[in-house]
Symmetry: C2
Subunit: 202 residues, 2 copies
């Protein structure tokens, strides 16, 4: 008996492998709908390309880079929008440049609070609780929470104030992102960044 | 009784925390030489900075970036050498630029073969073995090994031929790296890279 294969699974498999629709459907039937197994099967048969890092293109936007004049610090950032029209817009591109420059100077670790791993958050909180041990017991959790909030403002890009206060008057990166979204009329997302400093530990 | 603390551990702790030598030594004694625990202890006491990504600077070199004219593909690469004198050398900088441009076009996944995770290598080999199942049994391992070698040449930066054959005549990135090392008289290392393409899966 043939397994029922959804059109959505066929589409997902096509996007991952570049294989033809019928090949994808047949492969899915043979492995009873398991997409990972179907990818392997298609590759064994030579019907799929080896998975390349970054295959499917899902959004519009720009890649912006900034390398400090010394050549010792560099940043790469991806900022997404919804249409190529906005991606070519000077205002949008300037936002991306402002973000890249800020990252070089402020060295955030995460784009958003969601990206902070649970263990990391727990470790920081534990340290802040221990730092508050000389305070009355009833206020300790509040003090530790306050310190955690402050730490997040230091390491999370969207919560940081832009380093150029003359230009941006103390607005956070999230403020600037929201303003860019309002001006362009599209959802604007800072998707990811890389920041390299010569010789730093990885 | 006090634990014996080595000068090397004190140095390592100082580099990770920025704390004073005596503070580091005392902390190590209190936690019987466990460096991770000592880091926490120093932080609790406010004697250490929160660990920032990228602290210690261990090498010279440059960060080079390249963004394709479309703004849809960007690369950041760190190339190390031994002295700042060579890091400022035009020849060295040109090598870094050539590597960045190549990565944008060729989309490698790893700098060197060492970086390929064992599971990934095993998975590729399994697929190549299955692809060779119609061949005589005694030649199958050899065929699969050959395919694995070819795959490594596709995904490992140092094994790739530079995409600009007019300029580099089919030399691999490793050939170009070795030539740059010979010309500068220093060890030249491509340490890491990031390559972003707008909208790709991560």
């Amino acid at each position: 008996m043939e397994a029922a294969i959804s059109a959505g699974d066929v589409k997902a498999l096509r996007e991952r492998t570049g294989a033809g629709m019928m090949d994808c459907k047949k492969a899915l039937q043979e492995v009873e709908g398991d997409i990972d197994k179907a990818v392997e099967l298609l590759r064994v048969r030579g019907q799929a390309q080896a998975a390349k890092r970054g295959g499917r293109v899902a959004a519009e936007g720009v890649i912006e880079s900034y390398v400090h004049a010394t050549g010792k610090i560099g940043v790469l950032v991806e900022v997404n929008c919804e249409t190529d029209f906005v991606a070519r817009n000077d205002d949008f591109k300037e936002f991306a440049r402002d973000v890249a420059l800020h990252i070089a100077a402020a060295a955030p670790e995460f784009v958003s609070e969601d990206e902070v791993p649970d263990e990391r958050r727990a470790r920081e909180l534990r340290i802040f609780e221990q730092q508050a041990e000389d305070k009355p017991e009833n206020v300790r959790p509040k003090i530790a929470e306050g310190k955690l909030r402050k730490w997040l403002e230091e390491v999370v890009l969207l919560k940081q104030e832009h380093v150029n206060r003359d230009k941006h008057g103390g607005q956070t990166i999230e403020d600037l992102r929201a303003a860019a979204a309002a001006r362009t009329g599209e959802n604007v997302v800072i998707r990811r960044f890389a920041r390299f400093q010569v010789g730093e530990d990885q």
